[in-house]
Amino acid sequence: MSDVVEKTLTALPGLLSLDSQSTKLSSTSKLGNLIRGITELTSKHEEEKLIQRELTSIKEQVSSPNTSMRQMKELMVRAIYCEMLGYEASFSYIHAIKLAQQGTALEKRVGYLAVSLFLNESHELLLLLVNTVLKDLQSTNLIEVCMALTVVSQMFPKDMIPAILPLVEEKLNHPKEIIRRKAVLALYKFYLIAPNQVQHIHNKFRKALCDKDPGVMTASLHIYLQMIQENPEGYKDLTTSFVTILKQVVGGKLPMDFNYHSVPAPWLQIQLLRILLFCSTIFLCRDVAALCIHCVSLFFYCIQPLSSFPAILYESAKCIGNFVLSLKINLKYLGLKALTYVVQQHPKLALQHQMTIIECLDHPDLIIKRETLELLFRITNAQNVSVIVEKMLEFLPFLKIMLCCCIIYTLFIVLILFSYEEYTYAPDNEWFIETMSTVFSVGGDMMQPDIPNSFLKLLSEGFDSVEEDRKLRLFAVDSYVSLLQGEPGKLPQRFLQVISWVLGEYSYLREELEAATVLRLLAKLLDMKSTSSETKSWVLMAMTKLCEGGAGVSVTQEVCETYGSSLDTVLRQRAQELQHLSQDCELRARVLPRGAGLEPLEVDSSLSFLDGFVSEALAAGAAPYKAPHQRQEELAQAKALSLEPYGLSLPISMSSCSIADRQSPTLLSVSSGLSGDSPDLSHKGGSTTLKLDGVKRVWGREGYLSEREPVEESAHVEVPSPLQSPSQQGEADSSQSQTLTPIPTPQPEQEKQQLASSLFVGLGSQSSVCLMGKSESTTQRFRRKAKGTVSSSGASEQISNSLASTPSTANHLLCNNLLDSNITSDLAVSSLEQTSQLSQGPAAANGICDVELTGSDMSETSPTLIRDNGVVAADPAPHEDPDKLKDLCLRTHLPAEFSGLCHSEITPLCTNQTLDFSACHLQKEDSLALVAFIYNCILMFCSFQVSCVCDSPVQEARSHSVAVCQYSLTVKRPSVHVEVVGTASYQFPAGTPHSAQFSYKLPLTSFIRPLTVSTEEYGAMWLDFSHDTKQKLTLISDGQEPLTDTLNVLKKKLQLHVVEIIGMEGIVACRLLRDQPCLMHCRLHAGTLSVWLRSPVPDLPDCLMYHCQRALQEH
C-alpha cells in the first residue's frame, strides 16, 4: 500500500505542496490516491469495485481501537467522499458521531460535517449527538459553538429541541455577531419544525430585529417573513420598522461591505419587500415600492414581489417591459415570468409587448419558449384560441425532452377541451379530433388520467345539436380506424384506450365499415406486446360491444380462447363476457343496447331476480349468505362482541326518510342534488365547478372592467394608437400592423405581425369572453352541456376522478354512459334499499354485469346515505371539520372490552381517496393495545390487510363503514419513541391491490409499567444488570421534601414504582412490557438529583433517562 502512496505523491506534484507537514501529507494523499484511482477508471463497474475495496479498508481501520482521532478524521473525509459518489458507508455513521463527541476542535469539525452529511432528522443515531451538542453549546470556544449551531440548524430531532432550546436562546445575547446570527437561524429552524416550542421567545426575535449588527437583523427577517405570512394582522405594528429599515438600506446607510455590484444589500431588500407585501398596508408599500422601482437595478431582484403591488402596477409594467426587451436572457426570462403574473389580472398589459412575445416564441431557449406559452395560455380568448393552440402544438415535440412538461400538457389539454366546449372557439370538428389525436399520441401516458375521461365524456354527451354530435363521432371513428390501420404500436396506452372505447361505442355510425374489420383491428392491439393489461380490458370491452350478429366470429372466438384462461382476473372476466354475449344475441341486445348513452337504463340493483334461486337453495338446506368478514369475525371471536358492528351506519329513522323520498319527488331532487354536490365539495372545497356553471364567468371581470376604464382613457391621451383602443382592434388588422411599425417591413416581419394580431386579438375588447384557465384546475372547469340531473353528473365526475387509472374505471365510465342521466325516483330508492341490505350482509354482488351496474348505482345515492345516516350528523357542511366528526364516529367503534380504559387521541395515519386509516393506543395493565380503524371512503367493498407487527387476517370493509383491528404491541429494542411502521394493503373485488404506508409514533413511556419488588430483591437485581447510565436531573424543589416530590412526579407521569426512600436516597423500579426490568437509584446531591439507571436491556436506561428529564421539565 505504502509504495502506491509514494507513487501517487510523486504523480501529484504541486497539488499537495500547500501543506508539507508529514501528517497532513499522508492523510491527503490517501484521499488523493482514491480520487486519482477513480479518475483513471473507465467503467462504472471498476469504480464500484475500487470503492468497495476502499470502504472495506476504511471499515477495518475505523473499527480498530488503535486508530487515533487524527487518523479517524482523515478516514471520515474519505467516507464522505464515497458517500458523495453514492456508495453507502453506514458503518462510519457512529464513528462520525464519536469523532464529533471526543475529538479536538478540528476533528470535531470533520465529525460534525460528516454527521450532517450522513444523517437526517429522523435518524436514530442522531439522539447520541444531543449530548455533544449540549456540551459544545456551552463551550467557551467560539468555533465549537458555531459548529454546534450549524449542525442544529441543519438537522435536529424535534423531540430533543426542549433540551437545547434554553442554550440556543441564551446565545441571542452573545457578544459575537456571528453567534447571534447563527442562533437566530437555528431558532428559525426550530420555529419551522416545532412552532409551539418557540412561542415564548417572540420578544427576543424583536430584539434580534433591532440588533446593531445588520447580519443579525437580516437573519431575523427569515423568522418574521414566516410569521407574517401565517398571521399578517399580528405584526402590523412592525410595518413602520420594516419600512424604516428598507428606506435606510435603499438610502445607502449600510456599510459599503454590504453593497453587491453597487446595489445596497439586494438580498436584504428582497426580504424586506416580501415582508411588506404580506403586511397589506398599501399606502406604505406604495411609497416604498415606488422608491425601489426608481432604483432599476433593484427591480431585477424583486420583480415578482413588486409586480404584485396593485398600486404601482403601471409603473412596474413599464419596468417589466424593459425586462422583456432586455438582451440579457436571464432578465428576459424574469420579465416574461412577471408578465405572465401580471396579465392574469390585466390582460391588456400584454398588448404592449406583443412583438416581443412573438419573438420569444421562436427563441432557441426552451425555457423561454415554455414561459411564453404559459403567458399565451393566460391570455387565451375566443378569438385567438386556435392560433395559440397551434403554437402550442408546435412546441409539443420538445416537451418530451424536458422535465417540466406535465403541467403544460394539462394546461394545454384543458385549453383544447375548453375551446371545443365553448364551441364557438374551435374552428371545426376535424380540427378538434385531429388536435386531440396529436396531443394524445405525443403526450400520451404523461398526462393526467382524467383528461381522456373528460374527452370521452364530451364525446358521449354531445352538444345541443344531434347532427353535429353525429358528425363529430363519425369523424372520430374514421380518424381512429385509419390510425389503427397505421402503426398502432407507437401509440401510448391511454390513447389506445380512448380509441377502443370510441370504436366500440360509435363505429356503427359508419355504415360501410364492417364490424368484423374493426374487430380485427382491435384484436391486433391485443396481440401487441406493448399493450398493457388495462388497455387490453378496454379493448375486450369494445369487442363485446361490436360482436353483434355473429360479426367476426372467428376473431372473437380466438380472443376468448386466449384470454379466457388469462391469469389476470379482469381480463378473464372480460373474455368470458365477450364469449357469452357474442353467442347470445338477445342478452346482448338487452345488456348493451346501441347508443345506450342516450337512453335510460333500468337496473335491478336489489338483485331481486336472484331471489328465487336463493330461496330454493335455502330450502335445500344451504346456509344463509354471510359476507367473508362476518364469517371471519365469528371464527375469531367466540364471545361475539357484537354481531352487527356496522349497524349504526344506517339508523332506522333514516331508512324511513328514504321511503319518504319515494313519495315526494321534490324531496328526492333535493337529496340527489346533495349527492351530486357533496363529492365535489369535499374534493375541491367547492371551489370551481359550480360557480362556473353560469353562462358568464365574471369573476374578477367586473373589477377589471371598472378599473380599466379610467386607465384606458389615460392611455388614450398618452399614446393614441389603435393598439390602445381595443374596440377597433378586431377590425383593423392591417392598420394595426402599420401603426406598429410605420416603416415598410420585410416579409418575415410581416408574418410575425400577422401572427401577433391573431394572437392578441380580442384582448382588449369589452365583449370578449373572459379568459379561461386562471387556475390550473382540469375537468372541474368544464361546463357541462348535457342537461342531465345534477346528481348524475356530480356522481359520474366523482367516479371518473377518484377511480381513474384503476381498471375499474372502464366499468364506471361505461356504466355512466350507459345509465341515463335521468334517474327515476324508483331507482334511487331501490338502490338505497339495496345498500342498506348490503350493510346488513345478506346480499352479495356477484354477477358480472350486475356488479358494474350496482357499483355505479350505489355511487349515485351513497353520498346521500352518508349524509343521512348519522355518522356524519346533519351538519350542512360536513367536510368542514371532518376530523372532529370522524374522531367522534371512530370512538364509537372502539371495541367494547376497551370501553373502560382511556385511550389516546385518534390520530389519522394515512388518508387517500379510498381509505382513511387512523389509530389510537390504549394502555392496559399487561400490554399496550394498538387499535386501528379503517374507514372505507368509497363506494365498493374492499378487502384489506394490515401488516405491521404481524400480518393480520384479511378483512373486508364495506362502503362507508369502519373496520377495527387491534394489536398488542411489545418493544423489542427500546428507543425514546417507538414507531410502528406498516402497510395496509387493500383490494377491490375487481381491482389491482393497493397499499398504503403508515407509521404511528408512541412514546416509550406507554410501555412502562410499575415493577413491584422489595428492597432486597432490588439489591440482588441491581448487581446483575449490565447496562447503565447516570445523569443529574433538576429537582422539584417547591415543596418540603424535594426528593419525595420529584419521585412522585415521576411515579405519576411515567408509572414507576417507588420501592423505598431512605434519607437522601430513593430507589425506584419499573419494567418495560412485558418483563424487562429497569432500576433507578436517585440521590440528592448539591441541589440536583443524581440518577443512576440500570437495566439488562441496552438503550433502555438512556431512553428512560430522557423521559425522566422531560417529565421533570414539563412539570
Binding site: 473525509v77 468555533i143 441543519q154 454590504f258 444589500a265 424583486c302 431557449d365
Partner: protein
Amino acid sequence: MIKAILIFNNHGKPRLIRFYQYFAEDLQQQIIRETFHLVSKRDDNVCNFLEGGSLIGGSDYKLIYRHYATLYFVFCVDSSESELGILDLIQVFVETLDKCFENVCELDLIFHMDKVHYILQEVVMGGMVLETNMNEIVAQVEVQTRMEKSEVKLSRPSG
C-alpha cells in the same frame, strides 16, 4: 428555502453535494444524475433557470445554475427564493472560494472537499442564506484556518 446545492463537473462527476432536505441515498443520486442531464444540455447563451420539474418537492422548485469552466454550480430552491438573488449568491460563493483557495480550480474542490463544505456552511446554513457579505465569509473561514494552523503547530512537537 434552498433545498440542495450540487456541484459537478462537465462529465457529471459530483464534486460537492449538500442536501438541506432529506432524500434517500439513491434518490439523491438520481437527482444528481437528472440535474446534470438537464443542465449539461443547455448552451451557455440560454438562461440560467430551469423550472417546473418534479424531482424535489413537486412543482414548487426551480434550478438555478451557473457554469464556470469545468464546473456546474446548481442550486435547487423553492419558489420563495428570488432567481437573481440566488444567481448572485452563487457568484458570491464562487468568488469566496476563489479568495480562499487563490485561483480556485476543480482540483481544489476535489482535494479539499471538506474545506469547501466549511466555506459553504458560512454562506448557507440549514437551507437559509446566512451571509452574503464576502468579506465577512472570508473572515469566518480565516478564523477557522488560523485555528487549524495553531493546532497543527501544537501537535507537531508531540507527534
